[in-house]
Symmetry: C2
Subunit: 476 residues, 2 copies
């Protein structure tokens, strides 16, 4: 599959060959910093990771490399703006990683990365330090071999993507003056099943809630009180069950009102994806796959239709053996993945009111809004997307597929809505990367070929002097 | 209310008056031993408590006092058998207590008992060390003032009542030869709402299960997989919801088949109990009371009808904030209180099969049987029960009510089935005793008057030389 077209630049090829060992060592070094944004004990590691990246950016030859303080973890910024006739691309990645729990399911220490069977293994190998590192190494190679880049670059590397991006919107707003660009490349997605090169053209949005059901002030003896009071855990189960029909349809009134129906073309494109359901089921390891809604295929339900899932549930006695109580309270985290044009905040109100309306008598029910994010749909026909497809074909040797992701990147829609920039999601991770799970991996061929893809894309875009006009972006 | 009829025995009255302080100090001393049977770290405390009781029994003048080893915590046995013409009563109490969790809801240290507002406060004050202590002090008073007891007594004090009585059935079986008696008095129940003296005439049985729902081997990213797999927590909620109709009726096939319908007389008796629903609701602290089934009153649902309750539920992410996963697995503890003639083991099979039949596609569901206990119904017309009612009337000044308890004492039916002995449940705790909950209390007037009740009852029974024949008990 890998053709690594570097015919146009033998020096670049030679540089990549010559520096392979150092590149791997640098990748390992970055992964060894436990930059877990969600846990306050790792705050010093977040600063360490940000400084490590800034030092690399300085060494490579990027300019204005800076650890930008925020109310949370820092944003790393750098730019190179010496290609006056070429377009400007803003590259977004994140250097924070997911927590490592459940730690006992890791085969090795999460922050002691190593290479096995052609894969880098360790937390952040794929999501998203590996992809951030590819951008560093692509820029290094171009600057080292030519002394310049073919286009203007701005790097924005976030430290809070895995914990709701609380401070990035504010940082984007107040740094708007130095973020002028023609387009944004987000490298935080991956390839399609079977490790087929892909460009992601949509993300789902999010509504994340918590349902709190309260009965008595303390746990009650289930013998003395069983039959005379409502049980908060039973009540919670009923509420959750009422949220969806048996066929999976979400029953919250108005839930589908703003959903933009997929076009026949979209559905056809999805149906053409080379998807092996049996292989997918085996990888996921479930007894059966279950499409979320009637009338839609599995791939449609997983990407372009909204969902509703319990993320966690708890209440009462959860130890070994038996304890005969009626729990004082029971709770659930329930989140919805949203699609255009669903509005999380509007749906929260409908969700809360519906939950209250189906709550059984005898308990008090509260619903918290723990966060919302908008869905994003990008245009696969825009020139940057087309150039990315050409670069993937040139380096991986096959035409990429255009895929819809079921996931969410909270900040992605903000580049459009806040900075007015079109977004292209070009990511390189293998689908079985175990992102967010134990034993995260990145296939090193994806990494190595991917950084050549990036160089190829920069060269391609560098020839488009009129990109700004063609993209409809702003350089305010 | 308290008349403390001791006219028949001025010496007894004087003894009780003279030893009041020492009695309280001894009660405090017993409560200070943290005899939590469920937690293995307290195993040495269990032995300490058993030895403390045996030392007291020796000092008081009981005979054959023994810490009897079992595979679990010891049973304490003692007897006094020198009233050849009088009946023999076996007294059952337990010296183990419930765990103290949730510890943060206790106002004071659970094992640092003290007196406040006329109540003893501390773990075990009511359930069941306080009642065990009353029997010790009743025997002490009679032996101290008369040198003998008016009847034959056997004490069996268990150390595992709060953790399924795993070893008592075996101990009863192998000690059958020294347990010959005419009747059993169990002191592990309490008074009716409003602190009205009561004799408990039925206990519910139990079926305790755990439902385990498993999807993928690890938590899945809810964006990548939401809409393509069954969510184990949603599936568990649906299973739990399917267990009961919206009106509370249990939907497990055959669940009610063996239920003995309450007689019109029973229902009339229950309807005559002086029950203040508003006061009860305020004590329990729930927004509304909810009768378990249509067609039955609250008191009926709480005592003579079977129930189904979730005792605990857990799965997925339960920390602060949000984590977007589909849980790999979800679990619930679900127990049923049973009534005559429901059979827990038979119902377990029906329960398990029903759970499997309603389990949604795409998950694996297992159901564990964590224990069963039979319901018990006693005869309020038997002579010991009538004598207990007379003793309560004579000491507390009011006729006791006959009540059905919603709770279970796993071992209680075994005295009937294994030893062939009729059971009378005579307990003295106030209904707001917070048994199993934080801030457990015993009203000291119940304690003090209750031990006079016990003396009165022994005197009364001591006059019944033909009790054995009248009770239909065995003295094999």
């Amino acid at each position: 599959m890998i053709t690594t077209d570097t015919s146009a630049d033998a020096a670049l090829k030679a540089f990549f060959d010559r520096t392979a060992d150092a590149r791997l060592e640098s990748y390992l070094e970055l992964l060894r910093i436990p930059s877990v944004s969600a846990l306050s004990e790792h705050a010093p590691d977040m600063v360490r990771a940000a400084r490590w990246i800034v030092a690399e950016l300085d060494r490579i030859g990027l300019e204005h490399a800076e650890v930008c303080e925020t109310a949370g973890h820092p944003v790393v910024y750098a730019d190179w703006l010496h290609a006056p006739d070429a377009p400007t691309i803003l590259v977004y990645c994140h250097y924070d990683v997911q927590p490592v729990d459940p730690i006992d399911l890791w085969e090795t220490a999460p922050f002691d990365p190593f290479v096995r069977d052609g894969r880098m293994v360790g937390r952040g190998a794929a999501d998203d330090k590996g992809q951030l590192h590819m951008h560093l190494k692509a820029a290094e190679a171009l600057l080292a071999t030519r002394g310049k880049l073919p286009l203007n670059l701005r790097f924005v590397f976030e430290g809070e993507e895995e914990s709701t991006s609380a401070n990035l919107p504010g940082w984007l707003k107040s740094n708007r003056h130095r973020l002028a660009a023609d387009a944004v490349i987000i490298s935080d997605t991956g390839f399609f099943e079977g490790n087929i090169p892909a460009i992601t053209t949509s993300l789902r949005g999010m509504l994340y809630t918590q349902i709190d059901v309260v009965g008595a002030p303390v746990d009650l003896h289930s013998g003395s009180f069983g039959g005379t009071v409502q049980n908060p855990a039973n009540a919670l189960a009923r509420i959750i069950t009422e949220l969806k029909a048996a066929d999976g349809t979400v029953r919250v009134p108005g839930f589908y009102d703003d959903v933009v129906a997929p076009t026949a073309e979209e559905r056809y494109e999805i149906s053409c994806l080379p998807f092996d359901e049996a292989a997918y089921q085996e990888i996921v390891g479930v007894p059966a796959l279950v499409a979320g809604e009637p009338g839609y295929s599995l791939l449609e339900c997983g990407a372009i239709r909204p969902t509703l899932d319990v993320n966690g549930i708890w209440g009462g006695f959860t130890g070994e053996g038996s304890k005969t109580i009626i729990p004082a309270h029971a709770h659930a985290k329930v989140s919805c993945r949203l699609v255009p044009d669903q509005d999380g905040d509007k749906l929260y109100v409908a969700f809360r009111d519906y939950v209250r309306s189906v709550a059984p008598k005898g308990v008090t029910v509260e619903v918290q809004n723990l966060g919302t994010a908008k869905a994003l749909r990008t245009d696969p026909a825009n020139p940057v997307s087309k150039a990315a497809a050409r670069a993937l074909k040139a380096t991986f040797g096959v035409d990429p597929v255009f895929i819809r992701s079921g996931g969410s990147i909270p900040v992605a829609p903000l580049f459009e809505s806040m900075l007015g920039l079109p977004v292209v999601m070009l990511g390189f991770t293998n689908p079985d990367d175990n992102a967010h799970a134990p034993n995260e991996t990145m296939v090193l061929l994806n990494y190595e070929t991917g950084l050549r893809t990036i160089c190829r894309l920069w060269d391609d875009l560098g020839t488009m002097s009129s990109l700004e006009a063609r993209m409809g972006g702003t350089t305010a």
